[in-house]
């Protein structure tokens, strides 16, 4: 089964939060930002410093040039939240990563170094602590661009200060089904967060997966950001839970019907497209959290929701129909 290994089960996996990711953006001091580097030697040295730091003896990280990857591999990394899309369109970019992709450092993207840790469940503190240790290790061989006034200096002024971004991937089926996403967006924006769809097709969202990230990186400490994330995401989880329960109480029969229909399709189909599969899995996730159905673990539903997308399955050889057959088979094998 093709799926990203960082999405493995863990004790913190819940009904609503799929994964947490922290990024720390850093740049070498007195050196132009990535898009302005003209000398090959500087670009090479920026990459080599990180490679020496992270892939040296005893360390398990690997190094790949983005240009050497196939478009399928690149797409899979973008969709799997490992690299930002802009890393694929630029020359000279590279990635340092652990076997399960939970740890990664994107080199010469928007910033010289973008350190990332991603894990299943809701754990911003641990993600940050790993990123901080990575940054500290790198700082032993590269002096970072930093000013007392503006903090860590990043290419985009939107990340300056802490250079820190926390993103939380959430399944908000209840709020989406009750047409509350607009209100959620407004209240998140007011508290310094942004929200975007994980899956969308011709700008129409589907699958009810959302990424919530902090927009403030300046004038707040790393601990402030972590506390804000915990508070805001915590409130959103409560809101989603209450909405799910209310929806179920008010529409018991219709929700049970839709959950079992989704299960019927997923359990029995022989050919299934990615959009249909993801939408049915989202319904199944709701059913599982409300105790309507017990077909597999919630984290397995989340793993399927991410691994059955077209981008994730593009590496399987064959025609689109053949991939739709593999997708149906993959889901049938998992569901009880």
């Amino acid at each position: 089964m093709i799926m990203l290994d960082w999405l493995k089960d863990n004790a913190l996996s819940g009904d609503i939060v799929v994964a947490t990711k922290v990024n720390l953006m850093r740049n070498a001091e007195k050196t132009p930002f990535s898009h302005k580097i003209k000398e090959e030697e500087i670009a090479e040295l920026i990459k080599r410093k990180a490679t020496e730091c992270f892939t040296g003896d005893g360390r398990d990280l690997r190094y790949s040039e983005i240009n050497d990857m196939t478009w399928q591999q690149k797409n899979r990394l973008v969709e799997g939240q490992i690299i930002p899309r802009e890393l694929c369109s630029k020359e000279n970019t590279a990635l340092i990563y652990s076997e399960d992709y939970s740890i990664s450092v994107a080199l010469l993207g928007e910033d010289h170094y973008n350190i990332q840790y991603i894990k299943a469940g809701f754990d911003p503190e641990e993600c940050f602590s790993i990123c901080r240790n990575m940054a500290s290790l790198l700082n032993g061989s590269v002096k970072f661009a930093y000013s007392d006034r503006f903090g860590y200096l990043t290419a985009s002024p939107m990340n300056v200060g802490t250079g820190m971004k926390v993103s939380v991937l959430m399944h908000l089926k209840g709020l989406a089904a009750s047409n509350s996403m607009r209100n959620v967006e407004v209240s998140l924006t007011q508290s310094g967060f942004s929200i975007r769809n994980f899956y969308s097709d011709e700008s129409k969202p589907y699958g009810d997966l959302y990424i919530v990230s902090n927009t403030r990186s300046l004038g707040v400490t790393e601990q402030d950001i972590l506390e804000n994330v915990r508070g805001t995401v915590g409130r959103l989880i409560t809101q989603e839970k209450e909405t799910r329960e209310r929806l179920y109480k008010d529409n018991t029969l219709s929700i049970e019907d839709r959950v079992y229909r989704a299960y019927g399709i997923l359990k029995n189909s022989r050919v299934i497209g990615s959009r249909e599969a993801i939408q049915d899995l989202s319904m199944l996730g709701l059913g599982k959290s409300l105790g309507i159905i017990d077909c597999c673990s919630q984290s397995m539903i989340f793993r399927l929701m991410i691994s059955v997308s077209s981008a994730m399955m593009a590496e399987i050889k064959g025609t689109e129909i053949e991939r739709n057959v593999s997708r149906a088979e993959m889901i049938r094998n998992v569901l009880k």
């Binding site: 302005k36 590269v142 300056v160 200060g161």
Partner: protein
């Protein structure tokens, strides 16, 4: 009043220009006025003034100049380290180097206040490890190459009896070696 230029038609365009303190009055008929591009430009500005207040301000400052003074001002301001101008930054949304934060601080502070709710860093985690400056590291790596190059140039200069040049090269070698 008849047109100053053709002397036939009634003048309906009246323009007063003061250049270096010399006052010059022009009274033209519409036909002759249309032959003066500098006059028609001002009329366009007038039309624009009434429709957009921002243009009004720009045009007020623009009067009598060929370029927009705002644009001119912004383009003059470029980062001494990387050469990035505000215009470049506006296009990419990215600064060219860390010094841009100082160069464009007047422009960026209000933007940060608006988007981030603050323009001052609050110190939390600061990494104090002393890594190397990448620019210095590149120079460091080039050092042996540059030394060999200079030593050869020195030999050549001596063999050509170009002693003045040889002395210059010797000084540069000393500098690189840190003597």
């Amino acid at each position: 009043m008849l047109c100053n230029e053709c002397g036939k038609n009634e003048a309906s365009v009246h323009a007063v220009t003061i250049i270096n303190g010399v006052r010059n009055e022009m009274h033209l008929c519409p036909e002759c006025a249309s032959k003066h591009p500098e006059l028609s430009r001002r009329f366009e500005s007038l039309a624009a003034m009434t429709s957009r207040p921002r243009s009004l301000f720009r045009n007020l400052l623009n009067f009598g100049f060929d370029t927009d003074p705002f644009e001119a001002m912004e383009n003059i301001l470029s980062c001494p380290t990387c050469g990035e101008t505000l215009d470049d930054i506006r296009k990419t949304g990215l600064f060219g180097c860390s010094d841009c934060y100082d160069t464009f601080s007047d422009q960026i502070i209000p933007v940060l206040e608006k988007t981030q709710g603050s323009s001052t860093h609050k110190e939390g985690e600061v990494q104090k490890e002393n890594g190397q400056n990448i620019g210095d590291a590149v120079k460091e790596e080039k050092k042996p190459d540059r030394l060999t190059e200079l030593q050869e140039a020195l030999k050549k200069a001596i063999s050509e009896e170009a002693f003045e040049k040889a002395a210059e090269i010797r000084d540069e070698i000393k500098k690189i070696k840190g003597e």
